[in-house]
Amino acid sequence: MRRLVGTVAAVVAAAGCVSTVLPPATASGFRLEEDERSLWRQAEEAEDQFEKGGAVYADADLETYLNDVARRLEPPEVLVAIPFRIRVVRNPYLNAFTLPNGRIYLHTGMLARMENEAQLATLLGHEMTHATHRHAVREQRNLMNNAAFAVGLNSILPGVGTLAGFSAVRGYSREMETEADDNAMRLLANAGYDVREAPKLFAHLKEQLNEEKQSEPFFFGTHPALDDRIENYRRLIELQYGRRPAGVTNAQTFLQRTRDIVHENAILDLRAGRFVAAERGARKYGALDPAAARGPFLLGELSRQRGGETAAEAALTEYRRAVSLDASYPEPYRAMGLVLYKRGDKAGAKEAFDKYLSLVPQASDRAYIEQYLGSSTK
């Protein structure tokens, strides 16, 4: 990243003030400027490092689906100029960001809270605009022209490591974010999506943040950013798009494709002790896949870990529901054993632990279980 600052600083020193007005990549004859090329290289390096870190959620089918939605938004020639690729990051916080080279990272926390494909397209359109309208290099030049570029690039934000230096993670200037909203709306409408879903997405996210009473570290998790998006999209509908016939939302397809993300993200929320968000995710997943035992198991874990007077009973109810859906699913037996053991029901605990170990003889926590079983038989 320091090299990036050095490279760009050298360009500025040689050229004096650099222009922050650049045609979008969608214009004919698009080619990368020298400092922009350097920015792309740095993005690729940061991306390599980030991908090696293990935070990326690998699901080829989901990635294909997300990339198909992105392709629906822009014509092929744009996709040649900017080779967009959508990736999912295991992170429960609300965030999505785009690197200058067209890599778009969506946090599971963002995807899990969306309701349909039109909302996904809104976010993708917004993020893709940051790349097509060359916001990274424009902001870079703007900062340098204002001699304020020395700060920021090396800042560290939680969970994104080296990528944190990019404005993509911290948000761009208000003007660029508004440009991204305007263009996203155009892309959304041209692709035949229901434009009314655009403000709904951000209103929905805001409502959930309010319910959770949690602070969020990233751009899309802040109230000013969400308020701006809601206002911008509502204004655009009122002024330009209000009379269009309703487009598609593709809610069923979206929810079916992102079902596992909802589950995965609920686990991440639970691990971070974000119980309100975890419960919402677990219930959403349960509704999307009522036959899956892992839905009630997750609700049981939520009750057990949340604690409280009725926690044990509520947890046991969910664990029993889980094993009634899938008797070969081992985790609820272990959890039932723990709850019963703590309650002093040694016979019940032994039965549950025995069942657990019979299903997973090589369980990673076997030593604990054997300890409990030892004391259960005394």
Partner: protein, 197 residues
């Protein structure tokens, strides 16, 4: 190194460079008792330590190469900014291990955490837990860490050793285990016992 430890290290460096009256690196060998008097242990010769009232950070060649830390966490209090989970009285060692594991996994900068071992362990003759895990630094360096924890009264005593997976972790692991074997929890003072009841 996790961002949390990095922050601690940077803070320590600032305090030292400013010649502040705060913590400073000093030779560590021999018996050590923190000013809170809540525990004692024997530190290895040739290492240095930096400490606060309850927490202790020791290293042989610097925390980027190996660190041995002790901290005392309180039941019913937040474990930091990264998790809202808390320790509770009466938790089984396995449950306490789960809370600590989740707090570590949720910390910023923790990438690709892979749990290698989660087992019961005795600490000062009390039932506790042992977690061993690998992870990656933000620059991709592979690290390994072992965490021991034990709940006693309203506190969890946590001993952590970490270092780069290649060479350093294995080299000083035995030293850490020797230190752990000397770890003793001090009996609660009358005031602590009263507040616990």
């Amino acid at each position: 190194m996790s961002a949390t430890l990095k922050s601690l290290w940077i803070l320590a460096a600032i305090l030292i460079s400013a010649c502040a009256s705060g913590p400073r690196w000093v030779p560590a060998g021999g018996a050590y008792t923190p000013s809170s008097s809540r525990y004692t242990l024997q530190l290895p010769e040739g290492w240095k330590r930096l400490n606060g009232q309850d927490w202790l950070l020791t290293s042989r060649e610097g925390p980027f190469l190996q660190s041995l830390t002790v901290r005392v966490l309180e039941v019913g209090k937040p474990l930091g900014n990264n998790t809202k989970k808390m320790l509770a009285r009466g938790m089984l060692p396995q449950e306490a291990a789960e809370v600590i594991q989740d707090a570590i996994a949720s910390s910023p900068g923790m990438q690709g955490m892979k749990l290698l071992e989660n087992a019961p362990a005795e600490i000062d003759g009390r039932p506790g837990f042992k977690l061993v895990f690998g992870y990656k630094e933000e620059d991709g360096l592979k690290m390994k860490a072992v965490v021991y924890g034990v709940l006693a009264g309203d506190s969890l005593y946590q001993l952590t050793y970490r270092g780069p997976e290649r060479y350093y972790y294995e080299r000083d692991l035995a030293t850490f285990e020797q230190v752990r074997a000397t770890f003793r929890i001090a009996p609660p003072t009358a005031a602590q016992a009263r507040s616990a009841n």
